[in-house]
């Protein structure tokens, strides 16, 4: 694609359009592109979702597994993220190119979900002190068209919403407690994800900031802030990228924008 680097004139054009609050495709600085969500696609996972945000295409699958409890936190379950930026997404992800970005995204997601009110971790506990649910959340980036973090976080939230955790029946044995996973496809419980955070990326172009940048706009950004925001408006994680500097006024402005979106 010819969007890899832009000419000076194109960058100037985008810069001026952001300043006018009228971007290349007619959106305002705070408008998102058209977003499409689909859940329940993959039959051999416990929960799945696919999100299409213009060119960006992300697929998430969630599988559950019973494991021993973390001795420091014996009452709660755990989440584990793995992001695979496939080479299909962009030529830059060929070979091992996508690993760095993948680990960045998974670190951000882990931080965002580490807040105790994000997901009801206590409901993931099966046997306090012994067994809990471990959720493996695998993200596959099919196509990268700008604003990857947001799309991934929306897909993760949708997949968790779609998640069906099989009910467990406990039978007391002489040796201990035996756990039986129900095979019935209709016998499950759902996870409450109303508090799950969504990552919003705010890019700084020139002196203004935009939300949901396309690839071209991402080329022109000096710096960006990614915030994990919950429905109630509380911030669970924050990360800054880029070599541009932000003064505190613009940071607080951008945080407000994030919260309201």
């Amino acid at each position: 694609m010819a969007d890899a680097d832009l000419s000076e004139a194109e960058k100037t054009f985008i810069l001026h359009s952001v300043q006018d609050n009228f971007r290349e495709d007619g959106r305002g600085n705070e408008d998102f592109r058209h977003l499409e969500v689909e859940t329940g696609l993959i039959s051999n996972t416990n929960g799945s979702a696919r999100v299409r945000l213009a060119n960006t295409d992300v697929l998430v699958g969630v599988k559950v597994q019973l494991t021993a409890v973390d001795p420091e936190k014996p009452e709660v379950g755990r989440l584990e993220f793995f992001i695979d930026c496939s080479a299909n997404a962009t030529p830059a992800f060929e070979g091992r190119g996508g690993e760095e970005l993948g680990s960045e995204i998974s670190a951000m997601l882990t931080r965002a979900y580490s807040c105790p009110s994000a997901v009801d971790f206590h409901s993931l506990c099966v046997l306090p002190g012994q067994q809990c649910w471990l959720l493996y959340i695998d993200v596959l980036v099919l196509e990268c068209g700008g604003n990857l973090f947001d799309a991934v976080s929306i897909a993760v939230k949708a997949a968790l919403f779609n998640l069906k955790i099989p009910n467990v029946t406990m039978t007391k044995d002489e040796g201990g407690v035996e756990l039986d996973l129900s095979d019935d496809p209709f016998d499950f419980k759902r996870l409450n994800v109303s508090g799950a955070p969504v990552i919003v990326t705010v890019n700084k172009i020139g002196h203004k900031h935009v939300v949901d940048a396309s690839e071209k706009e991402e080329e022109c950004t000096l710096a960006r802030i990614m915030l994990g925001v919950t429905e109630k408006g509380s911030i669970t994680a924050m990360r800054k990228e880029g070599s541009g500097s932000l003064d505190s006024d613009s940071i607080s402005e951008m945080m407000e924008v994030c919260k309201s979106s």
Binding site: M1, A2, D3, D5, L6, S7, E8, A9, E10, T12, F13, H16, S17, D20, F22, R23, E24, D25, G26, R27, G28, E30, D31, F32, R33, H34, L35, E36, V37, E38, R50, R52, A54, I154, S260, S261
Partner: protein
């Protein structure tokens, strides 16, 4: 501030988009084209069990005894005389490597460009060293295909004043098969924007240049801010072109103009929604059929 989220299941499923006559000679990979052995095999075909099969999805073309299949989705295959838009990828000895969405990077020789100032002289060492001043990596140019080399690599030239470095504007990438070969690819639309339809699928939309007298030879880009009204026109045109490309309509100036007129009743960013795009394209199709008949 609006975030429009919707379920994929609410997308209009398999809308009946194509109302015209079926050309009847579209094949998919593996289809048998003919069992007659008297034909020569062209591109996109292979012989198996004495039958000619298609290896790509496309239309069958027959020239006397030669059968070939022209694919619908393909990289750009250049012909001499095509107008293309390309991005400079790298600088090499006495030439620029230009990316044109074809299988190989095209080549723009130093001797094939107009020097600034319009002078005509032999290119010297000095010129080679100044190459980066004329065109550097990332710049967009419009050029014409001068020659197709034996390995398929295209040789471009910008020997006319209408070609050269492109200034401020918006690049839209569509499939090369949607842009037909026409008499002219440079259109100055009456609504205040110019559009260049590159045969390689790159479409450049820019504000109409105010003054036509450019003694600089087209190397100095105007970095003045483009007025908002022009910007709206450009954004609307961009969304219209993308809508037409999504519905696989052939692109030419009248159809883009019709799409623009049909889209005036929506806000520019509403055109990004699929149902609005489909509606606009339907109106265009009806209008074209009306004009055609």
């Amino acid at each position: 501030m609006s975030v429009d989220i919707r379920l994929a299941s609410s997308r209009p499923a398999g809308a009946d988009l194509y109302h015209g006559d079926n050309p009847g000679n579209i094949v998919t990979p593996g289809d048998i084209i003919t069992a007659d052995t008297g034909f020569m095999r062209g591109h996109g075909t292979y012989m198996e069990d004495d039958c000619l099969h298609a290896s790509v999805a496309g239309t069958v073309e027959r020239v006397n005894k030669l059968i070939s299949v022209k694919p619908l989705k393909t990289r750009y295959n250049g012909e001499i005389g095509d107008v293309v838009i390309g991005r400079i990828r790298e600088l090499a000895q006495k030439r620029w490597k230009v990316e044109t969405h074809s299988r190989m990077d095209s080549v723009l020789m130093l001797s094939s460009v107009n020097l600034p100032g319009g002078e005509l002289r032999r290119r010297s060492e000095e010129d080679e060293k100044m190459m980066r001043h004329y065109l550097k990596e990332g710049d967009l140019i419009s050029a014409e295909v001068q020659n197709v080399m034996s390995d398929g690599c295209l040789s471009l030239h910008t020997r006319s004043l209408k070609y050269g470095k492109l200034g401020q504007g918006c690049l839209v990438c569509v499939s090369p098969s949607l842009v037909l070969r026409r008499k002219t690819h440079f259109h100055n639309l009456p609504i205040g924007a110019s559009i260049i339809l590159g045969n390689n699928g790159y479409i450049w939309i820019s504000p109409t240049a105010q003054d036509k007298s450019e003694e600089s030879g087209g190397y100095e880009t105007n970095l003045q801010p483009v007025p908002k009204s022009d910007r709206e026109v450009i954004a609307r045109l961009r969304n219209c072109v993308l809508a037409l490309a999504d519905c696989k309509m052939l692109l030419f100036d009248t159809c883009i103009l019709y799409a623009y007129e049909a889209s005036l009743k929506y806000a520019v960013k509403d055109l990004l929604k699929p149902e609005v795009a489909v509606e606009v394209v339907d109106l265009v199709r009806q209008r074209l059929e009306l004009e055609g008949s």
